[in-house]
């Protein structure tokens, strides 16, 4: 095995251990029975077919899609922290399209809903791209602000134009059957997972085997060298990378509406846009790794629900685990960078 791959796996193992230790320590300190809590977590997330197929895998779909996009964005040097808002843009437009396609053939209706979601996310991503390239506004700040704008608009939609017909609950009507992604019978796993896996392989091939994929990689590693040595237009790479990630976050929103909830409401996302950052980082932006880390985080969150139900441990404890994993990865990266070239800091 190549040394850098070995080092990456060591870092991964270290991060997962840190997460587990953080969990065990906080469980013990707060007086819960660590063994029964961990067993509930495992059974709820991965250990039973019910937990795996109906809780973990459906949750993994938006995380993988958003993570894949953020992987591309971060590679291309775009710090997109607005996936949450782009997810909502996609979910809002997908709902609106889906509700008006009742009589349509199912494959066409579903395709239109998903494309609508991706298109809406992409358009929403155009705003920070334009602000950055035209006015020099940092995308970190603009995407953060646009999250609030999107959430405000969704809040208006579900209490206004898209409110369900009886006007009691602040949510949209349920999508007609034609606009819903097919389920695997007897579970809550929907076809969006196949879409996510296909895209992961597609992006992997794109990054490894194509010229634009290499340009993306080069621009992310060293923008000035990419320009001087290869005449790679890093502004274009930045724009396309951010747009791709926004489109994928919008697609995630559409798939969530069409495959999981069938309705739009406030707090549709339990922070997918932010967890997606962790998903991409833990996988070191590798598309296939993002599938694995998306499954891991989805399983953790699904298992946390089971842990609260069966062992009385607050589900929110899983955030501590996620934070411990991310911070360990960051610290490990910083440490190994120093080992590579202590003199130059590279």
């Amino acid at each position: 095995m190549r040394p850098e791959r070995w080092r990456a796996l060591t870092a991964l193992g270290l991060a997962l251990t840190a997460g587990l230790v953080a969990l065990a320590v906080s469980l013990t300190l707060t007086g819960y029975d660590a063994a029964s809590a961990l067993s509930a977590l495992w059974l709820g997330g991965f250990g039973t077919s019910e937990g795996l197929l109906s809780a973990t895998l459906p949750r993994a779909v938006p995380l993988i899609l958003i993570g894949l996009g953020l992987g591309v964005a971060f590679r291309g040097g775009a710090l997109n922290i607005g996936a949450e808002g782009q997810f909502y843009a996609g979910a809002g437009v997908a709902t609106w399209i889906g509700l008006s396609l009742g009589g349509w053939p199912r494959p066409v209706a579903v395709a239109l809903v998903l494309l609508g979601g991706a298109g809406a996310g992409l358009l929403y991503g155009l705003v920070p791209v334009w602000l950055r390239l035209r006015f020099g506004v940092l995308e970190v700040i603009s995407t953060l602000l646009l999250n609030f704008v999107a959430e405000g608009v969704i809040s208006y939609l579900v209490q206004g134009p898209l409110m369900e017909p009886r006007h009691i609950y602040p949510q949209s009507a349920l999508l007609p059957l034609a606009a819903r992604l097919p389920l695997w019978t007897g579970t809550r796993l929907h076809l969006g997972m196949a879409l996510a896996l296909t895209l992961a392989v597609g992006i992997w091939v794109f990054e490894r085997r194509t010229r634009p994929g290499f340009m993306l990689y080069a621009a992310g590693v060293n923008p000035s060298a990419a320009w001087i040595m290869g005449r790679i237009d890093t502004r274009k790479v930045f724009a396309l990378a951010l747009l791709a990630s926004a489109g994928l976050a919008g697609l995630a929103g559409g798939a969530e509406i069409s495959g999981s909830t069938y309705a739009l409401f406030q707090n549709l996302s339990p922070g997918y846009g932010f967890t997606g950052i962790a998903v991409a980082l833990l996988a070191r932006l590798h598309p296939l790794g993002i599938v694995a880390s998306g499954l891991l985080f989805a399983g953790l969150e699904a298992g946390a629900g089971a842990m609260q139900r069966d062992a009385g441990v607050p589900a929110v404890i899983v955030s501590v685990v996620e934070a411990a994993i991310i911070l360990t990865v960051l610290l490990g990266d910083a440490a190994s960078r120093r080992r590579l070239s202590p003199a130059t800091g590279i």
């Binding site: 940092l138 953060l144 405000g152 929110v316 501590v320 996620e322 911070l327 910083a334 202590p342």
Partner: protein
């Protein structure tokens, strides 16, 4: 009508106080070139610290505990983002995530699984003699002590940033880290100090939310106020004196939504919620709004500091 306007202004100031404290803290951190998304977590930790401290030893103990909690969170973030030189945005997101988890677990452990009905000793409104008797404006001078502190902090921090040696070094680290380092500024150290001061203020912001505004603690009660503070810093052009009116503006928008919901149901109240963010984006597109951002903001520590 007059009483409605007065009540609205007073509530706007009350709502703006935690935002102002957090935004002032973030201004200091960002002036040093560090964008700290962990401020949301520091604020939440401060809120819980304030609750636990206040129920044990009164409001001032709450303030002290909140500042300590903010500092602990700030130290964790600074360790990863400044000392180790990791990506600031990701480190900040993770810090906030960890705080959401830890505060939730500690809160339930401390107050039981329900944890409802927690009533804390809060700061009473302190009237400023003379001013508080003014017509219309009077209620603005009957606020909690933390509100006055926040308003006085704005000029104090301006003085610290622009009139002291430490402030000069911090701004140099944020503006041109590499040059500052060649001139002998210990960039890592002043950045860490900026982050710590900012996080302490974020903790204080959490205290003002609990002890000056709400009077209780709830899980995830900061609800994005730390991120709003980051928007306020941008609207205020990274200058404490301008951050003050920017925070009041955001506070007024938040307070206005309730007035609008009751008084003019035809206008969707979300409009006033969205407006401040759109205005901030607009201000950033102007040359003046953009030029004020510290040049090395968010720049990986390793790339500006060398190693």
């Amino acid at each position: 009508m007059e009483t409605e306007i007065t009540a609205f202004m007073a509530s706007a100031v009350r709502v703006a106080t935690p935002l102002l404290l957090a935004a002032l803290g973030e201004t200091v951190a960002e002036r040093g070139g560090v964008i700290n998304l962990g401020i949301e977590g520091a604020m939440l930790a401060g809120a819980l610290g304030a609750a636990i401290g206040a129920s044990a030893g009164g409001p001032w103990a709450g303030v002290a505990a909140a500042v300590v909690a903010g500092l602990v969170v700030g130290a964790l973030f600074a360790l990863v983002a400044v000392v180790a030189g990791a990506e600031q945005i990701i480190a900040g997101t993770a810090t906030t995530l960890g705080c959401i988890g830890l505060t939730g677990v500690i809160y339930r452990h401390h107050y039981g699984p329900g944890g409802v009905g927690l009533t804390l000793p809060t700061f009473p409104a302190t009237a400023i003699p003379g001013f508080s008797a003014l017509p219309i404006l009077g209620p603005l001078f009957r606020q909690s002590i933390l509100t006055y502190a926040a308003f006085l902090l704005a000029p104090a921090l301006w003085w610290l940033l622009w009139r002291t040696r430490w402030g000069l070094r911090l701004r140099a680290a944020g503006e041109a880290g590499l040059q500052a380092r060649t001139r002998g500024v210990p960039v890592r150290r002043v950045r860490t100090e900026g982050v710590l001061l900012g996080a302490a203020l974020a903790g204080l912001a959490g205290a003002s939310l609990v002890l000056g505004q709400v009077g209780t603690f709830a899980e995830r009660m900061t609800a994005g106020r730390g991120f709003i503070a980051i928007a306020i810093v941008a609207l205020g052009g990274w200058n404490p004196l301008r951050v003050l009116p920017a925070a009041l503006f955001f506070g007024a928008a938040l307070a206005l939504q309730y007035v609008l919901q009751a008084a003019v149901p035809a206008v969707p109240y979300q409009v006033v919620l969205i407006l401040p963010y759109l205005l901030t984006l607009l201000v950033l597109t102007t040359a003046a709004g953009r030029a004020k951002a510290p040049a090395d903001l968010g720049r990986r520590a390793a790339s500006v500091e060398g190693d």
